[in-house]
Amino acid sequence: MAIPPGVSAQNWTTALQQFEQAVGKSWVFTGDDDIALYRDAYSPFWGEPEERLVAAAVAPDTTEQVSQVVRTANRFRIPVFPISTGKNLGYGGSAPNLSGSVVVDLKRMNRVIEVDDKRHFAIVEPGVAYFDLYRHIQTRGLKVWIDCPDPGWGSPVGNALDHGVGYTFGAYRDHFHSHCGLEVVLPNGDIVRTGMGALPGAKTWGEYRYGFGPTVDGLFAQGNLGIVTKMGFHLLPAPEAYQTSVVTVPRRRDIVPLIDLVNELEHQSLIGMPEYSSPLGGLGPPPAELAALLKKPGGATDEDFDQYAQQRNRGSWSCRLQFYGSPRVIAAHLEHAKDRFNAVVSGSAFQDGELMRFPLTQEQLDRVHKVAVGIPNMAIFSIGARTELNPSPSDGHLWFSPIIPKTGEAVLEAQRVFMEAFTKLGVPSMVSPFSMPATWMHRAFIFIMAFPISRTNVAQNRRTRETFRALVKVAAEHGWGEYRTAPAFQDDVMAAYSYNNQALLRLHETIKDAVDPNGIVAAGRSGVWPRHLRRARA
């Protein structure tokens, strides 16, 4: 049996007994087979000495049990690492930053505390999955939507605490932004509620997030100052209808007014999440003529790309606009969008989708992009899983997620910079002149890339790690930083946020040392290490 670093065998035995007293013997896992289930299934260190492994897992059922577990951990200086549903795949899964940690598995805390469809909020525990919250709402016929990320098995609490994102309106799809009030167990076992929840008997815990005084909620997202055990969220009132329309612009340089106009529509809350693509891109190898164009000495010009598009009667860029509301509101917003494009970008073409009224028919459900209408599902895994187009799937993936500005110029620059970086690194490029960013963030783009992970090819994983670290530096040199990353790279990413001699990290460390002097909670999360481990790592 593994023992947490720096803990004596005697203290470990006593701590395990106290964990068992707190949560029940059957909810303390120490057997090799059981704790292996807490490995990161997509670990870039799979099977290597650096892989993050746990010493044990403890699964409390209540906030009070979490408090007892944390008090014991603090007494014996045992590192703990909380997980909600443990599905943070591609960003670390259920594994800690520090090997030998005890995972505090909150999956059993799966209660939906409250959903209000008149004031539009929910309060949930960390073990609640998006599927659970959706089912709770549907079975009661409540008139609210949730905003969910691609995989529906994740936790609204866990996802928001890792700055996760979804698919509807900006105010909802930035999941931490839409949160309202936390309940947190601090490293000394004390239980604190933020926002209005700090007021006993508060009537607006799920509605007014600031309460009174300084706001501390952000310290617990991607942080390591406590274990969140309840969380409120604002919810979207269920719209009456939904419609998409794809706008396509003809020329390569039209990417600039395309994004400017979509920003205008989105920031006025006239559309939900826009989704960009290029009719010239696509999965699989490019056609021969395009491949030749991409290899042209000195690079293809905008005119070359325009000619290529024109010959095929295709546009250069597209954006799928999403409209929500009553049919009359949707029609007015769509008409306004068309007016704006027709006035600014000559040759803009719109292809309207079907106006769908809720509830959808089964046939509509089968073809609608479910997350865009607040329905959790797992269809996203079709991209990585085995298909006829992908007969040899990887064993997982690693997300590289730099934030770039929401402009056409920035997209073209990111394409160029990352393509050059891949060439320099001598690895196949994940980026093409048609790559478009993800738009989950409300006010910025994520120029996201997925690197495959193998459970058998150590050399490939090693190359991937080297490439990943190099790209973090390349991004930072251009003013781009990652919004989220797996534990393997959190020190690298935090190092890039280096303004004024790492002033932000130094502030985090000061707070960490004050709130968690024994450094027991999620040591190393986001690159913030407790004092005793900073010394060892220096």
Partner: protein, 120 residues
Amino acid sequence: MKSLLGIAGVAMTAFALGASTVLAQRADSDLKKGNEAYQYWCATCHGAGPGHPGTTALAAKYKGALPGLLEERIDLTPTAVRFAVRRGTSIMPFFRKTEVSDADLDAITQYLMRQRNTNR
């Protein structure tokens, strides 16, 4: 004492209904539990229809030699089901015991093997 009463209760019920009826009811109850656990934990990826990547992946793997839908398979063994759930395969991760308990896993296995067991 409680367990003795329980045994006596089961024995009396069995006497009243007939042992085979009780066993059949228990089997139905186990299958129902297995079906529910399967629908909750597995069907989001391994269900029927579009948007189920597990079903798509298995269809691509077996190219018609076996059904893509796990619920239509008659060749599954407890070892294979347990391996997939506790070790994962390809991009399917393994599931912790706070998610799929050992009891759930047994019930899911029985549910997936119901046709194989019936065909014996």
